[in-house]
C-alpha cells in the first residue's frame, strides 16, 4: 500500500454526515452570530433587564459551547466554519446590552438577599459576584484560544467592558481585563470563598453558575499549563460537603445563601437537575450518572407516541411572574445528549418538532417563540429564544459525553497541524470535515445553504497541505488536481486551484451536495 492513495469508499462511508436538522441547527447559530453588533433579532425573550435564565449572555455562551462541541466532535477539520462566528459571539457578550443589568441587580434587596440590605450599584460586571456573566466571558475567551490557537484575548485590554454614553458620564466607563487577568480574578475569588463558589446575584451562590468557571479553568490549563481545574474541583467538593452537592432526595441542590450559610432548593425546578447534570458531567460524570435516572423519573412526561416533554417549573418558585419558556425542556435535551440517553433525546426532539413551532429561516432550523406555557391538555406549548437558539441546537450537535471529552481529552498538537479548512463562503453548509491520519486523507462534504444561488462559485482555503508528499483532490470521484509536496502538478478545467503559502485555494461551481477528498500517498 506504500505510495498509493488509501482513501477508500468504505473509509468514506464510515465518516458520518450531519443530518438536516443538525446542519440547520448549526446554521441557526451561525446566522445569529453574523448579525450586526447589538442586533438581537430572534434573541429577545419575554423578560426585561436580562434577568432570567434565557438572557442574552446565556444564549451567546451556550451557542459558543455548541460551536466548540460541533467543531471538535463533528467537523474537526473545519475550524474555518467556527472561528469567526465564535469570535463574534465573544464580541457580542462584551456589549453593554448584555451586561449593564448588573448595575441594577448588584444592588440586591431581592428575595434571596434581603438579609444583606441594599448594596451600592456596581458598574464593573466582573469585579464582584455576577459569576453568571463573568464565567461565560472567561470560558468563551479561553475556549476560543484553545480551539483556534488564537491568543487575541490574551492581549492587555482585549476583554474590556466599556460603555460610552452620549448624554451622561462623559468619557464613559471602561473596565480593562484580558483572558488571563479575568481568569486570575475568578480563581482568587474562588480561593477566598473556600472554593464554594462565587455568587451570581449578591448572596446567591448557585451551583450551576460555578460549573462554568471550572470549564474555563480547564481551558486555561490546556492553554497555559497548570492544574487550576483539578484544584478547584477538589476544593469545590470539599466546600459543598457541608451543604450537599446532591440533597437527600437525590437531586442537585440549587444554591447557598452566603450570609445565612443556608441551602435553597425549591423542589419544583427541573433545570436545576438537568443544567447541573449537563455541565458537571464534564468533571464528575460518576455522580451525574448515578442520579440521572431520578431526574428523568421525576421531571419527564413520556407520551404514548414515544415523544417526551418536561413541564416548566412554576416561575413563582423563584419569586418571578409566570412566564412562558421551555428552559427545563431544553436543559433536559442537553443533559440527555451529554449522558447519551438517545431514547429520551429522540423523544424530546420529536415533541419539539411536532408541537413547538419549528421553522426554517435562511437555512437555520429553530422554533418560534410562544409565550403560552401549556396547552389545554397540559402539554408544553411555550418556546423561547434560549431554548430555540442555544439549548436544542446544543442537544442536536453534542455527542455522548461531548462536554466530558472536551474537558478530559485535550486536543493534541497533531490536530492543529493536520490539513484543515480555514476559509469558506459563509453561505456554505459543511456536513462533514475530517482528516484521518491513518488513511492520510481529508474528507469535506459541502452543501449550498438554503437560499444560496444554484451554480454559485465557491472558494475554499485549506491549509497544512504542503510538504506531506504527493496528493490529489477529488470531487465526487472526479480528480480535480494532482499535486506534489510543493506544487500543483496538473488540474482539470472544472476547478481553479492556487497555492497560497501554507494553503491551497480551491474554486469551483457548487450545484448540490459535494464531497471533496484530499488524499496523500
Amino acid at each position: 500500500m506504500e505510495n498509493e492513495f488509501k482513501a477508500s469508499e468504505d473509509w468514506l462511508s464510515s465518516i458520518p454526515l450531519m443530518d438536516d436538522t443538525q446542519a440547520g441547527s448549526l446554521r441557526r447559530i451561525l446566522n445569529l452570530a453574523a448579525q450586526l453588533p447589538d442586533d438581537w433579532s430572534g434573541m429577545q425573550g419575554l423578560t426585561t433587564l436580562q434577568e432570567d435564565f434565557g438572557a442574552l449572555r446565556f444564549q451567546l455562551a451556550f451557542m459558543s459551547f455548541a460551536l466548540g462541541l460541533t467543531h471538535v466532535h463533528h467537523l474537526p477539520a473545519a475550524p474555518g466554519v467556527f472561528k469567526q462566528p465564535f469570535n463574534s459571539l465573544i464580541e457580542k457578550i462584551l456589549s453593554p446590552d448584555v451586561w449593564t443589568y448588573w448595575h441594577y441587580i448588584s444592588t440586591g434587596n431581592g428575595p434571596f438577599n434581603k438579609s444583606i440590605g441594599k448594596q451600592p450599584g456596581q458598574w464593573d460586571p466582573v469585579i464582584k459576584d455576577n459569576i453568571m456573566y463573568s464565567a461565560y466571558v472567561q470560558s468563551m475567551a479561553l475556549l476560543y484560544h484553545y480551539l483556534f490557537q488564537d491568543d487575541k484575548y490574551a492581549a492587555e485590554g482585549a476583554l474590556t467592558f466599556s460603555i460610552d454614553p452620549m448624554f451622561w458620564d462623559e468619557g464613559g466607563k471602561h473596565f480593562v481585563y484580558d483572558e488571563k487577568s479575568l481568569n486570575d480574578h475568578l480563581y482568587w475569588s474562588m480561593v477566598e470563598r473556600g472554593y464554594l463558589g462565587i455568587a451570581c446575584e449578591p448572596n446567591c451562590v448557585f451551583q450551576i453558575c460555578n460549573q462554568i468557571p471550572i470549564l474555563g479553568f480547564r481551558f486555561h490549563d490546556f492553554v497555559y499549563g497548570g492544574s487550576l481545574a483539578d484544584e478547584v474541583t477538589s476544593g469545590y467538593l470539599q466546600a459543598w460537603s457541608e451543604f450537599g452537592v446532591i440533597n437527600d432526595s437525590g437531586h442537585f441542590n440549587m444554591m447557598v445563601q452566603e450570609h445565612e450559610r443556608q441551602v435553597i432548593t425549591p423542589d419544583v425546578l427541573p433545570w436545576t437537575d438537568f443544567w447541573m447534570g449537563s455541565m458537571m458531567h464534564a468533571w464528575n460524570p460518576a455522580l451525574v450518572r448515578e442520579h440521572y435516572p431520578k431526574f428523568v423519573d421525576k421531571w419527564v412526561t413520556k407520551l404514548p407516541d414515544g415523544s417526551s416533554f418536561v413541564t416548566p417549573a412554576p416561575a413563582a418558585a423563584l419569586g418571578l411572574k409566570e412566564r412562558g419558556n421551555a428552559h427545563d425542556f431544553g436543559w433536559a435535551a442537553v443533559c440527555a445528549s451529554e449522558l447519551g440517553d438517545t431514547s429520551l433525546l429522540k423523544g424530546l426532539h420529536e415533541f419539539a418538532d411536532e408541537h413547538l413551532q419549528p421553522a426554517w429561516q435562511d437555512g437555520g432550523y429553530y422554533y418560534r417563540r410562544c409565550d403560552q406555557l401549556l396547552t389545554e391538555d397540559g402539554l408544553l406549548r411555550a418556546m423561547d429564544p434560549h431554548t430555540s437558539n442555544a439549548l436544542l441546537p446544543y442537544s442536536r450537535l453534542n455527542v455522548t459525553g461531548g462536554l466530558r471529552k472536551l474537558y478530559e481529552e485535550p486536543l493534541q498538537e497533531e490536530h492543529f497541524s493536520q490539513p484543515k479548512l480555514i476559509s469558506l463562503e459563509p453561505s456554505l453548509d459543511v456536513l462533514r470535515a475530517k482528516y484521518d491520519s491513518k488513511v492520510q486523507a481529508m474528507v469535506l462534504t459541502l452543501k449550498p445553504t438554503h437560499g444560496m444561488e444554484k451554480n454559485s462559485t465557491v472558494s475554499l482555503e485549506i491549509t497544512n497541505v504542503w510538504k506531506r508528499g504527493d496528493w490529489h483532490i477529488q470531487r465526487d470521484h472526479e480528480t480535480l488536481a494532482l499535486c506534489d509536496s510543493d506544487n500543483i502538478s496538473s488540474s482539470t478545467s472544472s476547478a481553479q486551484l492556487k497555492r497560497l503559502d501554507d494553503s491551497v485555494l480551491i474554486e469551483f461551481e457548487l450545484t448540490d451536495i459535494t464531497t471533496l477528498v484530499l488524499s496523500w500517498k
Binding site: 469585579i127 477566598e192 484544584e231
Partner: protein, 171 residues
Amino acid sequence: MEVIKNYSKPPTPVPGMFTLTDHNGNKVDQNSYAGFYRLVFFGFTHCRVICPRNLARLSRILDALGDRIDGIRPLYISVDPERDTPEVMKKFLEINYPHFTGLTGNQEQIDKAKKAFRVFAERKADPEDPGGYAVPHTAITYLMDRNGRYLTHFAENLSEEEVLERLTEQL
C-alpha cells in the same frame, strides 16, 4: 483597584500586606524580610490534618534546596489568633517545623492579612473536639519576592517534586 480617568484595571490578585507579631514577640510587616523570598502558609496550630501535612511537606522541600534556603524566610501565619499566641506558635514550630517563623496578631490584623492573601478561613464547631473548634482554611503556599510582592503560589494538589521544581525556577 487601579483607576486611570475612566479606565479601571482589576486589583492585584495577592497584595500580600500584613502587620503582625512574630513568634519571638517582634512586630513585623511585609517589609520586615526585605532581601529575602518569603514562603507563606496560613494555618493554625490545632489543625490536625492540613497544617501538619503541608508544613512537613514544605520542610522537606526546603531541606532539598540546600544552601538556597538561606535566601528564604518561611512564614506560618495563624488564622486562629485566639489560641495561637506567639508563645504557642514558637513552641509548636520550634519542635516540629523549625524552618518556619510563626506570625500572629489580633483578629483585625489576621483578617487583614487573610484578605491581602485572599485566604479563606472560617471558624466551625469540631465534632472531634467537643467544646473546641476548628478553622478550615486555604491550603495554598505563597511565594513572595524579595520585596514582598506576590510571585506565584503552590496549591496542595501539586506534587512535592513539582513544587520543588517551580520553587527552584523562581529563586
